[in-house]
Subunit: 151 residues, 3 copies
Amino acid sequence: MININSLLAQYGLLLDEDRLEEWVDLFTEDSQYKVVTRENKKMNLPVAVIWCDNKNMIRDRIHSYRHVNEHNLHWDRHVIGPPRINPISSSEWQVQASYSLFQTNLEGRSILFSVGMYDFKIIEKNNILKINYLEVVSDTASFETLLATPI
Amino acid sequence: MININSLLAQYGLLLDEDRLEEWVDLFTEDSQYKVVTRENKKMNLPVAVIWCDNKNMIRDRIHSYRHVNEHNLHWDRHVIGPPRINPISSSEWQVQASYSLFQTNLEGRSILFSVGMYDFKIIEKNNILKINYLEVVSDTASFETLLATPI
Amino acid sequence: MININSLLAQYGLLLDEDRLEEWVDLFTEDSQYKVVTRENKKMNLPVAVIWCDNKNMIRDRIHSYRHVNEHNLHWDRHVIGPPRINPISSSEWQVQASYSLFQTNLEGRSILFSVGMYDFKIIEKNNILKINYLEVVSDTASFETLLATPI
């Protein structure tokens, strides 16, 4: 549990510090990363805001963010709540936690950007915890700006 | 402490997932559940936004929410901070934690709904932690919409 | 780790409860407390919003807040995320955590006031954890109101 809290802390802080390549390394090679809206999930619509089927797709996304796109410049700030932890096996856990995500623009104005829930499958290998699956379910659907960085 | 964190996680997530009946089961039969505003508490006014004297009253409230009232439809999202834990006895603790509560409407727009503090008395019985008392002290007093779901 | 979570809880709740003198006692005598904006830090500008070089300066600040100044009256509410903990020695840790800080005015309206990160050095002495250094890096730079209470 203590290590799971550390992983959640790393997840949010690495994104907030713009250390996106290190954030990618929290995932296993066969990891899935999805961002869906709560409304679409509830209606069983197969629409995802982001859908990466393996770690290479996550890497590509970060790479393209770094090298290709021009984005609205901002800083992210994740504040994550306490986790609900359900063991799947002796080395696998389902971990769910609410998050609030704020964005601050270049003028130093902060807004609420998205709230929602993380639904992780976390696995342990050689004493290290990694994300094997992550579905981000965003309550917020009205993204004010282009969704460029991961949630 | 670890179990107390899990209880806090369950408290928020069950509400956010609209699993209100399971949320009720976090309380003991003789549990009190109150929502007060910080201003009223400070001025010692005996006014509560919600006041349930036992678990049946909490059940009734959820039941009436489910079956009678028409409410503004929204999703809740609780993000709860780290707990301050004070042992009362070997099986009782006062647990206090700050919360932020966001609401998202059917258009997918999220707003800050309430911030404040939880003041729990938590007891252990047969290795299970339950809420024996909860006073929610909401800093926010200007509820924009009817207070329908628990905080 | 468990104690570090308790310290974070105390840090936020003591400020929110206006128990500022007890909040000061979380610091060591030689502690530094700084508030900087992320923008200024990134540009290496030596500008701080608050800069206290030792505990007496922190005390003075609280004292002057209590006895001299007239401030906009409000309540603070800190919601702090999970900590990233890096041991420096057997009794010293770097602890970093994201925060969201809300303010509520006398009419009971709550706003997002600041988001950012705490960068602590925490030390243990006689089984008690104290803050030996704290840099608050605020993403938010557009403080709507005079920065009167600590972040």
